[in-house]
Amino acid sequence: MPTVAPLDLDGHCVAATFVADVPHFALADGHVHRLDHGHKSEKVHDGLLAATTDLASSRLVTGGEDGKVCSTKADGTSETLAELGRKWITSVACGPQGAIAYASGRNAYVRFADGKVKEFVHPRSVEGIAFSPKGMRIGVARYNGATLHFPAADGKPTELEWAGAHTGITFSPDGNFLVTTMQENALHGWKLVDGKHMRMSGYPAKVKSMSWSAKGKWLASSGAPAAIVWPFQSKDGPMGKAPLELGTRGNMMVSAVACHSADDIAAIGYADGMVLAARFADQKEVLLRRPGKGAITSMAWDKEGRRVVFGSESGDCGVIDIAG
């Protein structure tokens, strides 16, 4: 039986994740909480807007309303990587070789491990930012499409056009596909080798959470009363194929998804705080957490795939041990 170790915090949880195998919870008020032989917390920002871990899960990189980009380690030590004054840092991403990227207004920035910063100015707001898993490349979600930059080299960016407002962005783990969330209730994808479009629509609500399966064969997403899981096994991605619908509930929206670290299983978080795990192969479901106080906003699996951290918009967070 799965067991839940609850952590009741005060405020909206922006990100729940593992840093060096320690459960971390980044809250909108700027505090980063962790469960490391007891509950500890540090105030990192005056208002936290975005958070993500680096590729090795060795540090948490956060952006705030205070215009700062910070890096926090599992021992609670924190360092300021960048400062933009009174501007909001709305999106952060971590890339290879210790590089990070962050966005504020119409600008995207890449900061290399040596502290050198490269700025990319766009005609419209940078809504989302992500690193490609291969090479030093970032993707920026923007109005009417996405822009790819190669921060280590000079040269023109690659523009991918699709009408509408693109808000979030992710590369497939093999680097072959780019997928954006949209202001409309849809995802849009590009096959990067030839720029072919993939329209993934039919959602009843905006998609706010996406997660690639461990081997990158599936992309799970929120925005419906089930986790919508698109097949990416073939070279043309999900085109012409129906997605899986996992954990379907009558009248409750999925608000967050997180794929397992090794197997084709997803943790599915709902607007009422419930968390299920569902296996892609046979769609078998296991209840991990009963409904709580607020919508699940963020989840992550540990490296071994045994524990799930979750956070909610009401602050009722926790760690689920699958094996109990």
Partner: protein, 351 residues
């Protein structure tokens, strides 16, 4: 499910450069009114107040789907409001300041179109600041100045000390011609009482039109009511009101018109399909619509309001004893066919 969250009211402040927006904002931020405001501005610029609830945001106009104006939103507001609302309890209300040239419609539509924004906030009122001296010039060189007035619930006619009585009367008549439903406050140095611009509930169906004598009595030609023009008001209401239902206003530079309709009790089976059809077909031309509808055999007043194609309606309250069961509807927009609207509206009346 999370406990029901109260929706935070949002006031939208429009107006040209120099109309007094910054003065008014500074008052909202500094006066001792017991409320805390988060303010979303385009540039920190002249606001000389250091306050971490002032957020700078680039105006991002996002068209959705098909590029229709009715589906245009302010993308940056979605992001900023979402961020602010993750830390509720820090403020009681939000004020959005737009740039001088801004079209107020996408701002307003954001609060109806986006589910997340809509669930956490509610549009309170659109307030337009107007420079009494320069309005005639503005109306000549831009459509935005006109749109801002046409779209407003409250017009603050500022800098009245810079014009003489006649100019002031003429400017106010122009504003009335563009928007007969707005409240007008004459001010110097944006000195309007803050409770006249904040927490107005102009989009709240239970409050909308309740305290809106100009709208309700636009055609009564009975102007003993408590009007909104200020203690020094001496203009002739009869004169002003003659513009209302004459289609395009006689003022040369004004392209916005209003059509005021009035009828008796309506047949709901005819009215709803009609308003649906009108707003679908004419949505892009309709900036605002507001109305109080009396339905036959219905003891309650029905209020309706709209922005482009978005319409909302609800029962508001019971008709009072002795109250006339009249239906009134005002359209503010461009290229409206007044004759057709009147004819088709009247055809919805109950037999």
């Amino acid at each position: 499910m999370s406990e029901a969250q109260t929706q935070i009211p949002v006031t939208v402040l429009t107006g040209y450069l120099g109309s007094g927006k910054t003065t008014l904002l500074n008052r909202i931020l500094s006066e001792n009114h017991g409320k805390r405001y988060a303010v979303i501005v385009n540039e920190f610029g002249e606001i000389g107040i250091d306050n971490d609830l002032i957020v700078e945001s680039d105006e991002e106009i996002y068209e959705m789907n098909n590029g229709c104006v009715c589906c245009t939103v302010r993308g940056d507001l979605i992001r900023v409001v979402e961020g602010l609302m993750r830390r509720p309890g820090r403020f009681d209300a939000i004020v959005v300041e737009t740039t001088g040239l801004a079209d107020p419609v996408p701002v307003a539509q954001t609060f109806f179109m986006d589910d997340d924004v809509r669930s956490k906030t509610k549009l309170d009122a659109v307030v337009a600041l107007v420079d009494a001296k320069h309005l005639p010039l503005r109306l000549k060189d831009s459509r935005e100045a006109e749109d801002q007035i046409a779209f407003a619930d409250v017009v603050v006619l500022n800098k009245t000390d810079l014009v003489d009585d006649e100019e002031l009367r003429s400017v106010e008549a122009t504003i009335r011609a563009i928007n007969p439903a707005a409240k007008i406050h004459r001010t110097e140095r944006a000195g309007v009482a803050l409770d006249q611009v904040l927490d107005r509930g102009a989009f709240d169906l239970s409050r909308a039109l309740e305290n809106d004598p100009h709208f309700l009595e636009a055609h009564d030609h009975d102007h003993d009511h408590d009007h909104e023009c200020g203690p020094d008001c001496d203009h002739d209401h009869h004169h002003d009101h003659h513009h209302h239902d004459h289609g395009v206003s006689p003022i040369h530079d004004v392209t916005v018109q209003s059509v005021s309709l009035r009828g008796g009790e309506m047949d709901s089976k005819k009215f709803f399909p009609w308003i649906e059809k009108i707003t679908q077909a004419e949505g892009p031309n309709i900036l605002r619509l507001k109305g109080i509808i009396a339905f036959k055999d219905d003891p309650d007043r029905y209020v309706i309001q709209g922005v482009h194609m978005i319409i909302e309606g609800d029962h508001q309250r019971a008709w009072k004893d002795g109250e006339n069961h009249d239906s009134r509807l005002v359209f503010i927009g461009r290229e409206l066919d007044a004759e057709k609207l009147k004819r088709t509206f009247e055809a919805c009346q109950a037999a």
